[in-house]
Subunit: 273 residues, 2 copies
């Protein structure tokens, strides 16, 4: 999916919600465990329940990998089931030497046909550029993550006062464009989102950390907004596990709708719709 289509979908759906499909076999309702493919059955119900309220889906690959080949089958079926007008993100946090990154790119962009994949920047240019060679596919570089460990290295400061995450933004922005490159910017560091926005005014941000991790949607919009919205805000656990009973899909729908309504207000306030 290209940038124009994504912006069109945000306007049409009045939402910049991404639903994170971190489908944990240990947390899905027990009655699904009797089905042939519980992970896919769960995802199918979640997608049906939330597709009117979101513009993107983001399976975290860890939850599929841990089930072996069967997990990859569930993932492939999930991808095939997601409606074509949704932006799909492989939350994989890959990155290797160029020769190897090419194979990760084939996995996520060709075999699974995701629109985007998340990439860890530590290994530099040749670990990222192989992913940028695919038409209408996106790299989402980890810049400022939502977890506590983000403080360990991402805020390291050089002699000119520039932090590692700022260097990541400045340097990686030269390798792609706002049409094929986004950044992960955690909602739990609201005040830093503004710094990120100054560094890369035109790029979309994928923002985790609203919901279970405690970030605020209003802060994210306040600090991260740009003229094209520029935000995909992810919620995973707060939607997926809103209930662990037979009403899980209904509760997921309510939660997704609640978030979408908050987003619609922001979109109206900003004069975007």
């Amino acid at each position: 999916m290209n940038r124009d289509n994504l912006i069109t979908e945000i306007k049409a759906r009045k939402s910049f919600l991404c639903v994170g499909l971190d489908t944990d076999i240990d947390r899905i309702p027990k009655h699904l465990l009797d089905t042939e493919d519980p992970v896919f059955e769960f995802n199918k119900a979640i997608i049906d329940a939330t597709k009117n309220y979101c513009v993107a889906y983001k399976p975290n690959i860890a939850f599929y990998e841990c089930l072996g080949p069967k997990g990859w089958e569930s993932l492939k079926k999930t991808l095939d089931y997601i409606p074509d007008n949704k932006f799909t993100i492989a939350d994989a946090k890959r990155g290797d030497i160029g020769n190897t990154s090419r194979y990760y790119a084939k996995t996520f962009f060709e075999y699974l046909d995701f629109d985007a994949v998340t990439i860890a920047p530590y290994m530099g240019e040749d670990s990222i550029t192989p992913f940028l060679e695919f038409k209408d596919k996106w790299v989402i570089v980890l810049a400022l993550t939502s977890n506590k460990g983000a403080l360990d290295f991402q805020f390291m400061t050089d002699m000119a006062g520039e932090k590692l995450y700022e260097r990541v933004l400045k340097i990686t922005a030269k390798w792609g464009t706002p049409k094929n490159l986004m950044y992960v910017v955690g909602a739990t560091r609201a005040e830093s989102i503004g710094t990120v926005r100054k560094n890369v005014p035109d790029h979309f941000f994928l923002v985790p950390g609203v919901g279970a991790q405690g970030g605020s949607l209003a802060d994210v919009a306040n600090y991260g907004w740009n003229d094209n919205c520029g935000l995909l805000v992810n919620a995973s656990r707060s939607i997926l596990y809103a209930s662990d009973g037979g009403d899980f899909a209904e509760k997921a729908q309510e939660k997704a709708q609640e978030i979408q309504q908050g987003m619609a207000e922001i979109l109206v306030d900003k004069g975007f719709i």
Copy 2:
């Protein structure tokens, strides 16, 4: 496998060679493509040909993932086929928030039963510690990688003159011990291996970049040696693709033996055997 067993194997085998199973379906000999599982057949032949000359095997997960569920089956069969006295490394370069890293750890340590997994440090402590909770399992943190892109961020210098890769060494060394933590240190930056060794005198290094990438075994031993050898030197393409014909296994054996003989000389010179 624990540290003592690894050191015992290095002495017994007179080798600190790790064979990288970066098995590329597009590069394996054509006659194998008619078999039911070409990737496994290739790995089986490579393992049989090289097991007398190495102490470790390191499949790079990218080459298996790109084949979908079948690739994971080939990987699982390969792991089951590797002799028990070999140290096995999942070259996966994973790393996510704690809740998610736990699932990657389950994948590689429980489902696939690897001894070790490579981890990208960008996301900090909670992305790494879930991997350190498994008995006799290892985390191998990317410190100084062998690729050109290593220069983009790993050499960033803070106000006290400390580089990012040095900070990664110092900080991550507090989370584990030399009994469950190693570092990736590229052979292509020989002079920096000495700096890494000063920072972490007791840890093992996994050293890629000898062979196809141009690093020198003598330099690695010169700069990286410690009292327990402290080195696992990886070669992948130079062994795997020594020939693309029917004699591929024979040529792989010759290449592995040649490297092992160089290592045996170093081990004797150092008085280790």
